[in-house]
């Protein structure tokens, strides 16, 4: 029992955070919007060169062959930066799904290097994110999985309040040529993909929440009213402290979910749902608190905090609505032993 990341994992997260601190500033986000560009290629390349695209791709296919525990902090860093590019959907969800179905699929190598992007159309989500910049799309038809080239689809943009969300309705035709035959029933594979999607959405929400608190703290230290920084008022302090408490008790749930998903613990799905709920709540509270602390400025386009609010809003019902995830929790509570010896998988039941 050791509930902590390895120094390698922490180092990778730190390097990613630093890279994004330099290459994914709010000023750069605004430039991207001004250019109306789908993504910042240099940033994508920098992330790819770090190996991030291949974390969950087997080493045989040019990836790092690691697991969800290795990816979760990277997704969190992406949230902290409000990263526009589809790091999470491509490398965190689409890649491991394709690798599970066809571990030797030739696309995986190009995916690991970041030269090809794979989008995923999971039945839980009505739209496909970043379909426009994808080389190919993983799509579902009935109970079969399909790999479809971008030019085999017709896509329609569905603009979101989050200007960096690139959602598309995808029209396409399933055929024997597009069908992916591989190991296991698609139901189980899609459940696992859903869990990864929800887990990494939760991780992003943690990052969004923490960044929002940090932005608000920075503002509250500077902004003066009634002759002192607003951050010296107890009302502001307590708002931010309350948001931080929410974050602190969402974080271990997200990390445990990553570890349990990686080890196929039987209750991993329950934990993922708990993580998604807790992290979404933390992001909701923290982003709203940050806007409140910024006052009128927080309600303006000028302050950066709205980028985080909008992403939080978008992720709220992505990869399963709160009602869906609450349903999975209720199912666990109704059917599983609950005592303190059952917090982890090999609790007393397995002594």
């Amino acid at each position: 029992m050791h509930f902590a990341f390895s120094s390698e994992q922490l180092m990778a997260a730190e390097v990613t955070t630093q890279l994004l601190q330099a290459h994914c500033t709010p000023a750069l986000l605004r430039q991207l919007l001004a250019r109306d560009a789908a993504r910042e290629d240099s940033r994508w390349q920098a992330l790819s060169e770090m190996g991030l695209m291949g974390v969950l791709i087997p080493t045989d296919a040019g990836g790092l062959g690691l697991n969800e525990t290795d990816f979760v902090l990277l997704a969190e860093a992406g949230g902290y930066a409000a990263l526009p590019e589809p790091l999470v959907e491509h490398a965190g969800v689409a890649a491991p799904l394709l690798a599970q179905v066809q571990p030797g699929h030739p696309l995986l190598t190009a995916m690991a290097s970041g030269t090809s992007t794979l989008a995923i159309g999971h039945p839980i989500n009505p739209f496909v994110a970043d379909a426009d910049t994808a080389t190919a799309l993983l799509l579902v038809h009935g109970d079969t999985l399909h790999l479809v080239r971008r030019d085999q689809t017709h896509i329609t943009r569905q603009p979101s309040i989050d200007p960096f969300r690139r959602l598309y309705q995808v029209d396409w035709r399933a055929s024997d040529c597009t069908r992916l035959d591989g190991a296991g029933p698609s139901d189980a594979l899609l459940d696992q993909a859903l869990n990864r999607g929800a887990l990494f959405a939760a991780a992003q929400c943690l990052g969004l929440a923490q960044r929002s608190v940090h932005l608000a703290v920075a503002y509250a230290r500077e902004r003066q009213q009634f002759g002192k920084p607003i951050g010296s008022y107890q009302a502001i302090k307590h708002l931010l402290a309350t948001a931080q408490v929410k974050i602190e008790f969402a974080r271990p749930v997200v990390y445990a979910a990553a570890a349990e998903l990686a080890t196929h613990a039987p209750h991993a799905a329950m934990r993922v749902s708990h993580a998604k709920l807790a992290a979404c709540e933390a992001a909701e509270l923290a982003t709203r608190t940050a806007i409140q602390v910024h006052g009128a400025m927080g309600y303006s386009w000028e302050a950066d905090v709205h980028f985080f609010l909008k992403r939080s809003l978008a992720l709220h019902a992505a990869w399963g609505s709160p009602a869906f995830h609450r349903g999975r929790i209720a199912h666990h509570i109704d059917g599983q032993p609950l005592g303190p010896d059952h917090t982890f998988y090999n609790g007393t039941g397995h002594v």
């Binding site: 959602l167 809003l313 609505s321 009602a323 609450r326």
Partner: protein, 386 residues
């Protein structure tokens, strides 16, 4: 105590309803914040209202009103929101400056400003905040120095709603050189077209330019555009703010109609297994009812000669929190489609829930941040030490 409407009030409701049924534009007007066209379309609507004598029903007939009581005003608002009539582009005028003029204005000022306000001929913007004076409104630095029978205005106002297209604005200015905090301030009305006024739009967090900065550079206005006594601006402004928060800023009907639509949205699109959302729908409806009852009580008290005190601060907290909770519940019902902009081809067509949610987020901030309102409640209503 009598919680039934009089026959006259019922007849009034019927008249409002009939008139609105005939006059409310079938097609929704373009936003008055996005374009001059939208703004002018709303001005035209104000003129239509005025032609029907509905501009501000509580005002004396001579100023364009019907001289009815506050209960009738609430009935008017109920019918107005029920009819989904256009938003009031002149709300800073009719709901905020109007009552203040009625209380502090001279006969000449009332005659000069109120009819034009009711008619939509002069659309008003507010100019309260300054870059360093937000929650700390008394930190105002803009000045109005007396030169003969004029004031010369200089300074920088910010977060002025409507100012991009409006005709006039009212704001606090230092009329006493070197005065500090609440002293030496006066409330002054000035045309936004005056020489020396420059307007610079500010975008809301969704990019829409609903605010503006107002830069004032040697703007000359006649002394008779000061409202209230010189140096008494703070008291006038507090009365305005109290009245705003206590009654007119947000009609309960607004939330009751929204709650009714929320119930309907849940019926049609809600997940029957989603307990949390169903509970939130019911709570929003109850809170909208509670708010309406509270306002009816306030209106009854005012009609009987009472005044609005610090409890107006409780209103502002309540409706702003209700507004966010209500719209957040709507987004929860819409699920993964909640994030779609109206321009999305597959966006739901069930009302402007996302836009209204964004609008609601401003509630706890403007008209005095809720933190300031809680200070006011604690200090003035409960008597806790400053």
């Amino acid at each position: 105590m009598n919680l039934t409407y009089t026959p006259a009030q019922q007849a009034f409701r019927a008249e409002v309803r009939d008139w609105l049924a005939c006059h409310v534009p079938a097609k929704r007007l373009a936003s008055f914040d996005d374009s001059r066209d939208g703004f002018e379309a709303h001005r035209t609507w104000e003129r239509t209202l005025h032609a029907g004598q509905w501009g501000m029903v509580t005002w004396p007939v001579q100023y364009g009103g019907r001289n009815v009581d506050l209960i009738s005003w609430l009935i008017f608002e109920e019918e107005y929101y029920r009819a989904n009539a256009p938003a009031r582009v002149n709300q800073n005028g009719i709901f905020l400056l109007g009552p203040t003029l009625m209380e502090f204005g001279t006969a000449e000022q009332k005659a000069r400003f109120l009819p034009a306000m009711a008619a939509g001929d002069e659309i008003w913007s507010q100019a309260w905040s300054e870059p360093q004076a937000g929650s700390d409104l008394a930190a105002v630095r803009s000045s109005a120095m007396r030169e003969g029978d004029h004031y010369v205005l200089n300074g920088h106002k910010i977060w002025s709603t409507r100012a991009v297209y409006a005709d006039w604005a009212f704001g606090l200015f230092r009329t006493e050189l070197g005065s500090e905090r609440h002293r030496g301030l006066s409330l002054i009305l000035f045309p936004l077209t005056a020489p020396g006024v420059r307007i610079s739009p500010i975008a809301r967090l969704d990019g829409k330019p609903v605010f503006a900065e107002i830069f004032l550079n040697d703007v000359r206005v006649p002394v008779d555009q000061r409202l209230g006594a010189e140096g008494q601006g703070w008291a006038v402004c507090m009365a305005t703010a109290g009245f705003e928060r206590g009654l007119m800023l947000r009609s309960p009907a607004r939330y009751q109609v929204a709650a009714e639509r929320l119930v309907d949205l849940y019926r049609r699109h809600g997940d029957p297994n989603d307990d949390v959302t169903r509970i939130a729908v019911h709570r929003s409806w109850m809170d909208a009812q509670a708010y309406a009852l509270s306002i009816y009580a306030t209106a009854s008290r005012l009609s009987a000669g009472g005044t609005i005190g610090a409890e107006s601060s409780t209103n502002k907290i309540f409706w702003s929190e209700l507004d966010i909770a209500l719209h957040q519940t709507a987004l929860a019902i819409l699920g993964p489609r909640a994030e779609l902009l109206p321009s999305a081809p597959t966006a739901h067509r069930d009302g402007d829930w996302l836009e209204d949610f964004i609008f609601a987020l401003a509630g706890p901030i403007y008209a005095g941040a809720n933190e300031i309102q809680r200070n006011i409640i604690a200090e003035r209503m409960l008597g806790l030490p400053r």
